[in-house]
């Protein structure tokens, strides 16, 4: 007997026929009414779509920075505690933080994964590498995409890797306007 070498199941999709009626008893006597308890459920598709008008609020200069080739973090003015992901007020002091330019700081991979599956929005981009990046002199991390590595050969050696950052030329005003790539020896 030959074992199947390819998928034996058709992937399920949410599309299908438009249905305007289903079988139902022609006579609703007591027996038919009682039998309705056993009826299979009717499942209908209800589309739902919406455009949100999302404001980045006090974090807006970060996205403006990305559009202009700058990665901005924030820093508590008194303690110097530095957030690689912007945060308007400091956790410890409660004070409003100042903007700080992280663009030229040395950066390394702190943790990473390769996503072979993902949320619906990102499925077409799989596999992709997510990485938490640490910057010299910053106390917190930054989540970004890491390019230039083989997603089919991940290794823990990627942790600690020196990385450079690049910016999209045509900004999307998303955090992915900046992304990371491993420095070669010559870059370091």
């Amino acid at each position: 007997m030959t074992e199947p070498t390819r998928p034996t199941r058709i992937p399920e999709t949410d599309d299908g026929a438009i249905l305007f009626s289903v079988p139902f008893p022609t006579v609703l006597d007591a027996e038919a009414l009682a039998a309705l308890r056993e009826m299979a459920p009717i499942i209908v598709k209800q589309p739902y779509a919406i455009d949100y008008l999302h404001s980045y609020g006090q974090d807006s200069p970060f996205f403006a920075g990305l559009a202009n080739g700058r990665l901005l973090g924030r820093m508590d003015p008194a303690t110097g505690y530095t957030y690689a992901t912007p945060r308007g007020h400091d956790m410890a002091t409660g004070a409003e933080t100042d903007w700080v330019d992280l663009t030229r700081r040395a950066a390394r991979v702190h943790a990473f994964t390769v996503c072979y599956f993902g949320s619906e929005e990102f499925l077409p981009e799989c596999p992709f590498v997510l990485a938490l990046i640490e910057f010299d002199g910053a106390d917190t991390l930054f989540l970004g995409r890491l390019l230039g590595l083989d997603p089919n050969a991940p290794t823990l050696d990627w942790i600690g890797l020196r990385v450079g950052l690049r910016f999209r030329r045509n900004s999307k005003f998303k955090p992915t306007d900046v992304y990371f790539y491993p420095f070669g020896e010559k870059d370091v």
Binding site: F117, L132, I159, K174
Partner: protein
């Protein structure tokens, strides 16, 4: 605060999809079971219950705002007081604690906690998207929002920091799936090996599909009461009810964005986060050496919220040696890795020891054959079974119901009634006296720990 008893509970069988019923009708299944287990009819219970707390995570999945009141209405609880709580994956645990507060404060004598989630209303990948919206939509979600990805980053850091292995993670999957073979309420019934777990499709390196819980439809309900409420229910039922009380609760929080987690110093950790039983010269030296090797707390590998929730719950329950003073733990194993991380947060072992602890057999049931060999280790096999029910990984994770499901299974353990409810007593822990339930949200943003105890 006055004593609070957990008296009964019910769970709908968790399933990938329950199109046969609407969510209020699924909650009704769990409610009816809980009331029936008290020996009461609905009409009797409704005369005695003072109000409720409703638990469900996502308005996106429900596509129905104010779904809580629809359940309240369907159960016939109107016009009694009620409210909905939400805290991501910890919603069920928070619901249990809010019901406890309603009774402990004197506001109610009898309170019903119920929870549900119907995640089958969208396909799996849209469901993952909905769940990922529980990450910062300005900075985290747009980068590739996917919770399995977030947890996998914690894993790589845990592995790098402590030498944790994927085989150690797989031990958790083998354990929880095997336990679930004896739990008729669980969604999955699979007999797995370490090799099976590793050979499953890779989802987010190094987590495979068998390292990750599934989405589910389901509901759970729990009845809590004061001494006065207990007396009223006993009078109505015409019998004495087993005494299981809530010995202590704790709750902690942490930064929404994993990137923002502090990287505390050794001194700060010792001052704020050390558990009392860890306060020995040997353990201080152990932690000092971790810091000398670059460890920072909580970082992305540990859950400070889980540690703080445990610390508060243990202090209130008078627990000084959790591994030996807790008979079992039902914890939030959305991932095999998060079970290992939680061993450490709850002080079953020290930070960094979760991997060897998982493989030691300490968290396994001593009477179940897992097809694994456990070597000699500092932790006795079966000393503190974790997720004897099968946990989220095998039982399923209908978010709003999950924390309450844990309370129901813990109650049945402490009542010695697992055989009665499961139709098989394999999972009954001998002489179970005290159980801990642990509910967890986000990347460790809200965590609850509640201690339940059989009254002597």
């Amino acid at each position: 605060m006055r004593p609070v008893y957990v008296l009964s509970g019910g769970v709908s069988k968790f399933a990938k999809a329950r199109p046969d019923k609407t969510f209020p009708a699924i909650v009704k299944e769990a409610y009816d079971y809980a009331i029936g287990d008290l020996g009461l009819e609905h009409r009797q219970f409704i005369e005695l219950v003072d109000g409720s707390v409703a638990s469900y995570f996502s308005d996106h999945f429900a596509r129905q705002l104010m779904a809580g009141i629809m359940v309240q209405d369907y159960l016939g609880l109107c016009p009694k007081p009620g409210h909905r709580v939400e805290g991501g994956g910890a919603t069920g645990g928070i619901c249990f604690q809010e019901a406890w507060k309603s009774v402990a404060s004197g506001d109610m004598d009898v309170c019903l906690a119920y929870g549900f989630e119907t995640m089958s209303h969208v396909n799996t990948w849209k469901g993952n998207e909905f769940i990922a919206l529980a990450s910062d939509v300005s900075f985290d979600y747009p980068v590739g929002g996917f919770y399995s990805g977030y947890y996998a980053m914690m894993v790589t850091r845990h592995m790098k920091e402590f030498g944790t292995t994927v085989e150690q993670l797989a031990h958790v999957s083998v354990k929880n799936h095997r336990n679930a073979l004896y739990n008729p309420y669980s969604q999955k019934h699979e007999r797995l090996t370490i090799a099976d777990v590793r050979a499953a499709p890779m989802v987010a390196w190094p987590l495979t599909r068998l390292d990750i819980c599934v989405m589910s439809d389901g509901a759970a309900a729990v009845v809590l009461a004061s001494e006065e409420g207990l007396t009223k229910l006993e009078r109505a039922a015409g019998r004495t009810l087993p005494r299981v009380k809530v010995a202590g609760i704790g709750r902690g929080t942490d930064a929404m964005r994993m990137a923002d987690r502090p990287h505390q110093s050794y001194d700060e950790f010792i001052a704020k986060n050390l558990l009392p039983h860890e306060d020995t010269a040997e353990t201080r030296t152990y932690y000092r050496e971790l810091w000398e090797h670059g460890f920072r707390y909580p970082g992305v590998h540990s859950f400070r919220a889980g540690r703080m929730a445990s610390k508060a719950a243990y202090a209130r329950a008078g627990i000084t040696d959790p591994l030996r003073e807790i008979s079992f733990v039902e914890l939030h194993d959305a991932y095999t890795s998060s079970e290992i991380q939680t061993y450490e947060d709850m002080g079953l072992c020290r930070y960094g020891e979760g991997g060897p602890f998982a493989a030691s057999g300490a968290a396994f049931l001593p009477n179940v054959d897992y097809g694994l060999e456990f070597g000699n280790s500092q932790w006795p096999v079966g000393v503190c079974p974790v997720n004897p029910s099968g946990g989220l990984i095998a039982c399923g994770h209908p978010v709003g119901a999950t924390g309450l499901m844990q309370a129901v299974f813990a109650l049945w353990q402490l009542q010695g009634a697992i055989g009665e409810h499961f139709g098989d007593d394999t999972l009954q822990i001998k002489d179970a006296r005290r159980g801990a339930i642990h509910s967890h949200a986000g990347t460790g943003t809200y965590v609850t720990v509640s201690i339940m105890e059989k009254e002597a």
